[in-house]
Amino acid sequence: MRPDPGPDTSVAIPEPGAAVLPAYVLRVPTGPYRALNPLTKFVIAIASAVVAFGVRGWTGPLSILVVTAAIALIAGVSRSLRRFVLATIPIVASILLVNAFLYPGATDVLFRVGPFAATGTGVTVALQAVLRVIAFALSVAVFSLTTATDDFLADLERRGTGRRLTFVIGSAIRTIPTMGSRAIEIVEAQRARGLDTEGSIRRRLRGIVPLAGPMVFGSLGEVEERTIALEARAFSAPVRRTAMRALPDSSTQRALRWVVGLGSLVLVAVSVAGRFPLP
């Protein structure tokens, strides 16, 4: 019985009534800030971080805090920012304590707590440092809350980053939860053979090889399997990958990126040269 030859599927022929991507794939970003091109948002985040740390004095970090808060409001992510702020508490607390009480060479004592003296200089430095850390954390937070990783990577790929690199970054990000569950399985298997993870430090250190070994070798083994599986899905086809979501860019945004990027560098240069006019 001779089989039916069927349609030639080697040439992409647009079929009638071609469908539309479902909403959960399209994931159209809502709001003026989210709708910006990922690279624009990325440049803004980097520039904010640079200014927050690079410009001496109060103005740098304070202005970034104001800008970031404004962006958060526009993008509607202000409530989610709370999580990130909470995450900075340990660092903030240690910065405050160390600098306020232990700033070397400061003599302008403000108040005493037991044997420790808080100096004015120390407190000033501490507060500024805290502001920088929070400003940095918030600009990173706003970026990650308003930009889907997929979109960012797809945009990079479109700009010519290359399939493999974007794939590696993307899968590394996604692999983190899987690595977690793999690690748990390994720990359980070794503990079930008597590896002590609850005893003394020395006993716990002995666990490094039995825990790290399978992690590494298992991951390497999976790399080989995954490489084969990827090739079987035409990963290395020498053509431009179809982009499922259009990420609009414009000359306005491009100009904005240049202005913001260069502007931040100029501000830092001026500050470093000691000519920054504001406190």
């Binding site: 899987t178 990963f235 179809t242």
Partner: protein, 280 residues
């Protein structure tokens, strides 16, 4: 579902992995024609997985190593093809569902689109192929789910659908149900049965579960130490209790009959239906 064409043929295929001391496959002759299902059984380390890689052309093209003899699809040697060309002619499915997902898709839809997007197909085509694959395997309800959070059986179906989205004429499956629980095995088994019946895609499936092959395969080959030691219609090959000597577990219906025969008992008529060859 598009109708497939052509024949996948191995002639005197001998393959050795890079740096290996022995051949993994020796003189394998095999033919897989459109619309047929070929089962492959054999003890572990007999070369079943290697056979899958060689049949799909991934060995030597992706994996390296040395192939003598020929592996052809419609007369064209697979060694001369590039990986992405092979991917469109012959799809392959492995045991571990999660290891073969791309790991970069947030939804099943995007996972299925991964292959067609890699080929740079127009968006309309990509969508059509994804929807066709979802429909063929009956998993449209999973389209918006996170692939990393599926059960083993569901993940395996998604991986299979992802391969079908490339519209291969041939499908090679290396122990597709080995890591699945009984429900997952049933899910995948039924999907394969429907696929074989409706799409006329040629399927080569390696399995330890001979009961599955009993229902699925037209022909079965037994492979041992890299060579094909038995080949024939599935009922004949699987129906032989001597399969045990070759390191393969016959399907339950064969074992039960053999146990009764071994004790000198006649198989009662009432049991015939349970012990009959399955309708294929």
């Amino acid at each position: 579902m598009s109708v497939a064409t052509g024949t996948l043929r191995l002639s005197g295929a001998t393959y050795r992995y890079a740096g290996a001391r022995h051949d993994a496959l020796t003189g394998v002759d095999l033919e897989l024609a459109a619309g047929s299902v070929l089962g492959v059984v054999g003890p572990n380390e007999a070369g079943k997985s290697t056979l899958c890689l060689v049949a799909a052309g991934l060995a030597p093209v992706v994996v390296g190593g040395r192939l003598t003899g020929s592996v052809t699809i419609d007369g064209r040697e697979t060694v001369g093809m590039r990986p992405h060309e092979l991917a469109q002619r012959c799809g392959i499915l492995f045991q571990d569902p999660q290891a073969q997902l791309s790991g970069t898709a947030s939804t099943v839809f995007e996972e299925l689109a991964f292959g067609p997007c890699n080929l740079g197909l127009p968006l309309g085509d990509v969508i059509d192929r994804v929807e066709a694959s979802l429909a063929t395997l009956g998993i449209a309800a999973l389209a918006d789910r996170d692939p990393a959070r599926l059960s083993g059986g569901q993940a395996q179906l998604v991986a299979l659908a992802a391969i079908l989205a490339l519209r291969p004429d041939f499908l090679v499956l290396d122990e597709p149900t080995s890591q699945l629980d009984p429900q997952g095995t049933r899910l995948v088994g039924e999907a394969l049965r429907d696929l074989a019946r409706e799409s006329r895609t040629a399927i080569l499936v390696v399995e330890h579960k001979t009961s599955l092959l009993d229902q699925l395969a037209d022909r079965v080959v037994v492979i041992d130490h890299g060579r094909i030691v038995r080949a024939g219609p599935s009922a004949e090959v699987l129906g032989d209790p001597a399969l045990v000597e070759l390191g393969v577990e016959p399907p339950p219906r064969v074992r039960v009959r053999a146990a009764l025969a071994g004790a000198g008992l006649r198989t009662p008529d009432e049991a015939d239906q349970l012990l009959a060859e399955p309708a294929r």
